[in-house]
């Protein structure tokens, strides 16, 4: 088990290397010249050239890549072209809102989607099942920002139950923190809920056909125990896998959600950085997101052993 964890962590190195190469190249290929942007409208071609040299943009591709990787290895993500602040500092300032949003969304989505999926599988073919599946299709089809504005309009503007937008730090108290996150979490989580609920339903339907479910019934087990102990534990591996893969949805959705609800998180930072062609910031954030994604999926792989004793590492 321990050896496996070490192996898996070591295996993330090549993955991250490929991600790094990709991130670096993407910006290299992308149109637009950061030097020109920084220099502004009034600059002469000589000014632009000078700025380019100072940023090291005139050096060959591989040299730049090597230097960049070397800096990252030492924990230096570079300095923002725009603010002149270290990228790591900028990420630190913005990470709390994003992390909060993701954790709240994750908890909300799992605690809503799994029971919904179980319910749909139990009541398969009835109106309950149809209602859950219709909701899932709807949630899949409506974009995050539409759900976000709709929720903000109804629950914040019309009903005045929750704040329209913004973010309050966790250090200011639990409720003020949560209050600001409820609507964004619902908006961001709706696709995620739909995804998890569908997988839960499909897996549960299969598991409920198994012989051991019949055995559980023959033992006199109640419906709740059959669904949530005998069946759900067997269905857990695919469900947990989808929860892990869905983290990518959350990362992508966070960027949009943070814009809609004016949350000063990494998503906003990314959008702003892209608009300003602030290469080091974009690279830093994308690398961080990739790393989180890889780590989450490693954690999920380890979770498997908890649900299924047949899986051993």
């Amino acid at each position: 088990m321990f050896a496996y964890v070490v192996r898996r962590i070591l295996a993330t190195i090549p993955v991250m290397a490929v991600v790094a190469l990709f991130v670096f190249s993407l910006l290299y290929i992308a149109p637009g010249d950061p030097a020109a942007v920084i220099a502004g409208d009034q600059a002469t071609p000589e000014d632009v050239e000078r700025i380019r040299a100072s940023l090291g943009l005139d050096r060959p591709y591989l040299v730049r890549f090597g230097a960049w990787v070397w800096d990252i290895m030492r924990g230096d993500l570079g300095v923002s072209i725009f603010t002149n602040l270290p990228v790591s500092t900028m990420i630190q300032q913005r990470i709390e809102p994003t992390l909060s949003l993701m954790v709240v969304t994750l908890l909300l989505a799992v605690s809503v989607a799994v029971p919904l999926g179980v319910l749909a599988a139990w009541k398969v073919g009835t109106w309950v099942d149809n209602a859950v599946m219709s909701f899932a299709v709807l949630a899949f089809s409506v974009p995050v920002f539409v759900v976000g504005y709709l929720l903000a309009y109804i629950f914040a503007l019309e009903l005045d139950w929750l704040p329209v937008q913004g973010y309050t730090a966790f250090s200011q108290g639990f409720w003020p923190w949560l209050e600001n996150l409820i609507l964004p979490a619902i908006a961001l989580g709706s696709v995620y809920i739909a995804l998890i609920a569908r997988i839960t339903r499909a897996t549960m339907l299969e598991v409920l056909q198994q012989d051991y479910i019949r055995t559980a019934r023959a033992k006199g087990a109640g419906q709740r125990s059959i669904l949530f102990l005998h069946a759900l534990k067997n269905a857990a591996v695919p469900i947990v896998t989808v929860i892990g893969i869905g983290i990518a949805l959350l990362i992508g959705g966070a960027v949009v959600t943070e814009s809609v609800f004016a949350i000063p998180g990494l998503g906003r930072l990314t959008v702003d950085a892209i608009l300003r062609r602030d290469y080091p910031v974009i690279q830093g954030v994308v690398l961080l997101f990739s790393f989180v994604y890889v780590l989450v999926n490693l954690a999920i792989d380890l979770l498997y052993t908890l649900f299924d004793p047949r899986i051993r590492y």
Binding site: R214, G220, A221, N234
Partner: protein
Amino acid sequence: MALLEVENLQTHFRGADGVNRAVDGVSFEVNSGETVAIVGESGCGKSVTAMSILRLIPEPPGKIAGSIRFNGKDLLKLSDREMRDIRGNEISMIFQEPMTSLNPVLTVGRQIGETLRLHQGMNKQQAEARAVEMLKLVGIPEPERRVKEYPHQLSGGMRQRVMIAIALACNPKLLIADEPTTALDVTIQAQILDLMRDLKRTVGAAIVIITHDLGVVAEVAERVIVMYAGRKVEEAEVGRLFRNPRHPYTQGLLGSMPKLGSSLTGEETRLQEIPGLVPSLKKKLDGCVFASRCAYATDLCLKVAPGLEEKAEGHIAACHYALKESVAA
């Protein structure tokens, strides 16, 4: 009063292409401590009969009618809650597939303990301690270690022993065993049958054993019910049935049973077979259900369904011509 009285049991399944009459008017009794075998080919309704007794048939599409009185209570009239109190407690069941009938993600101890906690109000420790005793009782070595293991760590025979331990944990009055040895190696089959016989003596449960293996029947049963196409066609005490089968179908079953070493002694090298297949259970037949495959069938058989008649003392069969004992030879 018999322990179990099944009367005119009808289990039908409604499908897209009509109603499947899997069990169509079966009646029988099981007395306390008795072992009754239900035999027949695949698809004759044996398993559905067993599942109907515990009401394990999904409804819909299934529909169970008739009456099933257990200790005088009609099981079909009980609420789901009351039925759950009976399942695994007063009536328990062993299934054919030991490889898949145990939950792969729960320990053996937990699965045995579950019935004890459900029905005997035991706490976790008591249930676990009793689970160890049960494993010892069904002959599993090192029960203290095995109780913490998962089904995939056990062999097929061991798993069936665990199933038996689960079934007997609450000292049921009736044990229904649906093809308990079919999926096992021959040597293991014998062990499991011996175990069931021993446990019957110690626990005192009545057993309904469902099988298509007449060897198993001869081994354990006291009385035999032969089913065909959802009906009971013959019933007799085991020795009488083997010596003197009255229904042509039963004769066919016995004739298709291989005899050990028969090809070496050269007495009869070819097994008899019953030609044809079980008729569709979807349409209502006027005549005898077996007529299409029966060598003795006449016009009467095709038109009029024979009722169950007592052909000899304690020996009933549903055949117009079953009186002639010589048909067997």
